[in-house]
């Protein structure tokens, strides 16, 4: 049941990214380019998405079990540490270079854009490198 929910939610999430124009790096970069012809679309998308998600999360965080069963796993660490800030910084630089983040990049894969494939493969490489680095440092 959880996998069916994931399939449907992934599909709706991806459709939202497509409909909102957030799969177009030019529009994303237009929002990030505060000194150029600023494009507010990404800000509107985020505010509306948050407004819709907020009540759902307010209910979800008060529950101990998910509607489809199983425990709620919504919150992890709460400490703002160097790791979080360094990761966000590295992620932000990459996001600013291409105008692509993981969600839109995955959505673009089946549109057969060569650039999206290159980006997704490199992104998977970066994630795999993190896993390897994690294992190497844990052994020390």
């Amino acid at each position: 049941m959880r996998s069916i929910a994931a399939l449907v939610c992934g599909l709706v999430f991806g459709l939202g990214l497509l409909v909102s124009g957030m799969t177009d790096p030019r529009r994303v970069l237009g929002f990030l380019d505060v000194a150029g012809h600023w494009n507010p679309a990404l800000g509107v998308v985020m505010v509306v998405a948050l407004a819709v998600a907020l009540p759902a999360f307010a209910v979800a965080t008060r529950r101990s079990r998910a509607l489809l069963g199983g425990p709620m796993v919504l919150s992890g660490a709460s400490r703002i540490d160097r790791r979080l800030l360094a990761g966000a910084c590295v992620f932000g630089v990459g996001w600013g270079l291409a105008g692509l983040c993981p969600g839109p990049a995955v959505v673009l894969v089946l549109t057969l854009r060569k650039g999206a494939w290159v980006f997704v493969l490199a992104m998977l490489g970066g994630m795999a490198a993190f896993e390897l680095w994690q294992r190497a440092t844990r052994r020390d």
């Binding site: 709706v12 409909v19 909102s20 990030l32 679309a41 509107v44 759902a56 790791r83 998977l124």
Partner: protein, 151 residues
């Protein structure tokens, strides 16, 4: 400068509102139904972990994302994606996005949507930092380096 995009051509506004609502609904529904965060870097990254559990729903979520343009094309053509960067730049950007999102425990969806929606201070910090870093990067690329005849 805001007027250039905001008032000149408001055709982006309705899709932005509609798309944003779909994204928020999907993230909210998934939290309620499955009790999990719809964070794309965590979902994809979790599949790369050799001993990671919870694979089935991760694959299903990724399949949903992959199928989105297929579903979209049944109703209307898939919106254009302007990706004019060189492959080398895309490789560097992809590596940074992948590594950074895992190191920082989340990306635009995990911290920016789900984290903020559950009022996490940690996610607010991450979102402000990656937004700021991305804006500085775009500023340097477009207004500092581009001005030096690097065409």
């Amino acid at each position: 400068m805001i007027e250039a995009a905001g008032m000149g051509d408001p055709s982006w506004l309705l899709p932005a509102v509609l798309g944003g609502a779909l994204i928020g609904a999907a993230a909210g529904a998934f939290a309620l139904l499955a009790g999990r965060i719809a964070g794309i870097s965590d979902i994809v990254g979790g599949l790369l972990r050799p001993l990671g559990g919870e694979r089935a729903w991760r694959w299903a979520f990724v399949a949903g994302l992959l199928l989105a343009p297929v579903a979209h094309v049944l109703v209307a053509p898939v919106p254009a994606a302007h990706l004019s960067h060189s492959p080398a730049l895309l490789v560097v950007a992809g590596l940074l996005v992948g590594f950074g999102a895992r190191l920082g425990s989340g990306c635009t969806s995990g911290h920016g949507i789900c984290g903020l929606a559950r009022l996490s201070r940690r996610s607010l910090a991450a979102t402000l930092v990656f937004m700021g870093a991305a804006m500085v990067t775009v500023f340097v690329a477009r207004h500092v380096l581009a001005g030096q005849g690097a065409s």
